[in-house]
């Protein structure tokens, strides 16, 4: 690969790279606001100015006070170039740390804060704000403008998800470009000129497509905030776990940002992966964090005369074991339902359980019924792991999985005499599934749903934020995710719960650790390891 020099260091670059992109690939940050690896280049913030050493530098006329002569004299300064615009050429020598470059960073930063409200104490971006970071890193002077700053629109509702603060905006146009170029909906633009300009909506429109939260995410400052996340948490109290979105079969890489003391997930945000989601996620995916806390099943449940009663998770497990033992004894065939919402690890142990503990079983796959896919990220299949569940079932000899409709038919015909179902998701509603309760139904679920609601026994299990696991996306890419928060007391991952259920039935499923399960997963699929840090 060809190389160039940045701050004296040899760096490789790819043909067509700009200076900033080549540096970014190498993990070196040149300060920037308007540049974003996934958006077009506007080179307008001027924060990334660097000195390119080539031949005779172009000098610009400026003016200096000469105290000896007691008059102004001509001076010059080096012409700098924006690192986001300048293409790298072989052997190019670039400095982002020369005195002229440093001076430019300092003055651009000063200009940016000139009319900024600096209301960090009430700004949600504080702690992850480029203005704060670069003020510390690059600004050299205290505030030199003491007069009233320019005032602009504040707390403008851009749509159901986003609020705009014109005074905090640095006019980098990333939000405009994201909507134009990625979401393909040019709903944002700029109005007015000079230092009274601001971002605005297209007439008659709201920011209301399926990728609105990304506008907040690409905003380098606190000008765009998410109505969902506003005023909820200070980011420095949050921890991040690398994970994979469970919204659909695309499997966007993401971080789960959670409050460690409260063990509460506060938001999801994209984790860059050029091969899967680049830098983006959809709104529904980002909002799927709500499932980690809303409609959460935290107790066991058994059906008794007069309805369902709450029991401890272990009591529910004992009841489940009893029902399965009875079914086995009566020679009834157990219908085993895999889940396209659960990890391959969970489904793997379920497959093993079906084959080795229950013996002959009929197998099915429960999944949500699909949503609007698009050509951007969203897959029409709104389940994260249909491919993974199907693959581990096949590995255990279950070449094809029936639908839940088939399960209904098999229960009706009497060929299935009991049901063991993983997951809360199904295509059918509770009313449609009600006919299943003709036979004992054991549900292992983290959340409320149609299947848990008609169960004879409900054993609570961990959500995907509470476990390590693997999802295999629509392209067959197996992607691991890491646990963020702990499951509530007494609740374990589905695979651990199944291993316990096996023990309760007097059998052993030979997995002590997650690694044991992972080793047993189908070897053919490529595995992507999540990056360890936020």
């Amino acid at each position: 690969m060809p190389t160039f020099k940045l701050n004296g260091q040899d760096l490789e670059y790819q043909p067509g790279d700009t200076i900033i992109r080549a540096a970014w690939r190498a993990g070196i940050e040149i300060p920037h606001y308007c540049w974003h690896p996934g958006l077009s280049v506007v080179a307008s913030c001027r924060m990334c100015l660097v000195e390119v050493k080539s031949g005779r530098p172009m000098m610009l006329p400026i003016m200096q006070w000469d105290a000896k002569k007691n008059e102004y004299v001509d001076a010059t300064k080096v012409k700098l170039v924006p690192a986001c615009q300048q293409a790298v050429t072989d052997g190019l020598e670039v400095s982002s740390q020369s005195e002229p470059a440093k001076a430019a960073h300092a003055t651009v930063q000063e200009f940016l804060l000139l009319n900024h409200p600096v209301d960090c104490p009430i700004c949600d971006q504080a702690g992850e704000c480029k203005l704060q970071d670069y003020w510390l890193a690059h600004q050299t002077k205290l505030k030199r403008k003491q007069t009233e700053p320019v005032h602009k629109s504040k707390a403008v509702r851009f749509g159901p998800t986003i609020v705009y603060d014109g005074e905090r905006c640095v006019m980098c146009t990333r939000c405009i470009r994201f909507n134009d170029e990625v979401a393909k909906d040019p709903v944002l633009d700029m109005r007015e000129r000079g230092n009274v300009n601001e971002i605005c909506l297209s007439p008659g429109r709201e920011l209301d497509h399926k990728y609105t939260l990304m506008s907040e995410h690409v905003c380098p400052v606190g000008a765009l905030t998410s109505r969902d996340f506003r005023f909820k948490a200070r980011v420095w109290f949050l921890k991040a776990a690398p994970s994979v979105c469970s919204g659909c079969a695309t499997g966007c890489n993401m971080f789960i940002d959670f409050e460690p003391r409260a063990q509460e997930v506060q938001r999801l945000r994209p984790r860059d992966n050029e091969a899967v989601n680049k830098y983006w996620m959809c709104d529904d995916g980002m909002m799927s964090y709500r499932r980690f806390h809303e409609g959460r099943v935290t107790a066991g449940r058994v059906r008794a005369t007069g309805g369902l009663v709450d029991v401890t998770p272990s009591a529910a497990l004992t009841e489940a074991a009893a029902l399965l033992a009875a079914a086995k004894k009566a020679g009834k065939k157990v219908g085993v339902v895999f889940s396209a919402q659960h990890s391959s690890e969970d489904n793997h142990v379920l497959a093993k359980f079906a084959r080795d503990v229950l013996g002959a079983s009929s197998v099915y796959l429960a999944a949500q019924g699909g949503w609007d896919g698009d050509a951007i990220l969203r897959d029409a299949d709104n389940n994260p792991n249909r491919a993974g569940a199907t693959a581990v079932a096949a590995q255990h000899g279950f070449a094809s999985l029936g639908t839940t409709a088939k399960l209904l038919a098999d229960v009706a015909s009497g060929s299935v005499g009991a049901v063991l179902a993983l997951g809360w998701a199904s295509q059918e509603s509770a009313a449609e599934l009600a006919a299943l309760s003709k036979v004992p139904v054991i549900s292992l679920a983290s959340n409320e749903g149609a299947l848990p609601s008609i169960a004879s026994v409900l054993v609570p299990v961990a959500t995907h934020a509470e476990t390590n696991g693997t999802f295999t996306n629509r392209h067959g890419l197996a992607q691991q995710f890491k646990r963020a928060i702990h499951a509530p007391d007494g609740i374990k991952s589905a695979w651990e719960t199944l291993a316990e259920l096996a023990r309760a039935l007097g059998a052993t499923i030979d997995f002590g650790k997650l690694e044991d399960v992972r080793r047993a997963l189908p070897a053919s699929t490529p595995t992507a390891q999540p990056a360890a840090t936020a």
């Binding site: 280049v41 506007v42 080179a43 307008s44 913030c45 001027r46 924060m47 100015l49 610009l60 006329p61 400026i62 003016m63 006070w65 008059e71 102004y72 001509d74 300064k77 012409k79 700098l80 615009q85 430019a104 003055t107 651009v108 000063e110 200009f111 940016l112 000139l114 009319n115 030199r144 403008k145 007069t147 320019v150 640095v170 006019m171 146009t173 633009d189 700029m190 007015e192 000129r193 000079g194 230092n195 009274v196 300009n197």
Partner: protein, 461 residues
Amino acid sequence: MSTIDTTCLLTDRYALADSFTYAVAEKAGAYATARKVLTGMQPDAIKAEVKAANIRGRGGAGFPAGVKWGFLPPPDPNKPVYLVINADEGEPGTFKDRTIMEKDPHRLLEGCIIAMRAIGAHTTYIYVRGELVTSIKRLEQGIRDLRAKGVLGKRPFGIDHAMDIHVHPGGGAYICGEETSLLNSLEGYRGEPRLKPPFPAVSGAFGMPTIVNNVETIASVPDILKLGGAAWSALSRLPNDGGTRLYGVSGHVKNPHVFEGPVGLTLREMIDLCGGMLDASRPLKGVIPGGSSTPVLRPDDLVHAPDAAHPLHAWHGKSHLDVPMGVDTMRNLGTMLGTCCAIVMDSSVNMVEAARNLMRFYHHESCGQCTPCREGTGWLAEICDRIADGHATEADVELLVDVSNNMMGNTICALADGTAMPMLAFVRKFRGEFLAAAREGGVKNGRLDQAVVPLLGGRAA
């Protein structure tokens, strides 16, 4: 008084009654050159004449038009070439292009026809400042007449080179005069300058190769072809800067107006041609030579070029106002020729107020993309306001210099430089006045309102 040669080429039809009509213009010679050129010359030969004419762009930057035309890529049937005429004329103090469009629109249209032939374009867009209603009306009428005569159409003068011209009223912002901003505005986008490269000659209007030229640049083309490039070039008093051009003078002279003269008149001659200073009791104080973005000159500043190799050596020891106005001479003087429309200021003007007036303009007109320009123009205006209104200290004068220095060269287009340069010149050449205002609680004499009222003929401002 003076024996200044004021050759009339470009303006030779200005004085005719109804000079803007096709009938009058045609009778006085319009389109004779176009006919000759289109029927008798190959495009390369036309380009060679324009190159030989040494015509420097009349829009402000002074780039040689013949060289610019040479930047077009080789002809490609999938890439139509456009000619775009910059008639946005927004630079404060500049009002010359308007006279062409109002008094002799057919000279511009004839220039467009010859230029289209030379660069292989079939379409011209004339982007006219929206406020110039008469210019727009007269150009549109001219185009209708040309279409009716078949001069615009499939076969102008019988040759196989279809041509049409469209007038596009401007978007109402100074920045739309910057050529790439103009192209954005023409295409229906926000008038914001584009990143360069690519330059318009490679990717301009609608992504196609485009030549953007000023009104006067193109209106000079018929004369260049009529006289021949070399002969036309020789009309100038300066080398590498050919021909005659329009001079404009506004401000404190007896007869502010636009007139034609050879390239290389001095500012002093320009003032003389306008009848001298308005009021003998108020001597000349400063001249902004070519539109508000060009640094101000003082009559008492003398050229210091003792070295014989210095390009201004010939004027060593003379006043800045006695140096001939050319693209290169003005650059060597530390200012710019710009649009060659001077603003003359007498002793009634307070330079803090003059600077504040201009900084307000740039603050209002910055498109706001680039941080240094968006924030810098506003900051300079704010500091000037404070100095003029008496809310400043002497340190604020140095702040003007520092902010201007920090803006220089750090932006996408030249508006920021065109703000910083005149600001620096005002402080450099009239520092005492800025310090006095800062010290003495603001501008006492020559406040903007006082200076303007007499010019309005005593009417209340």
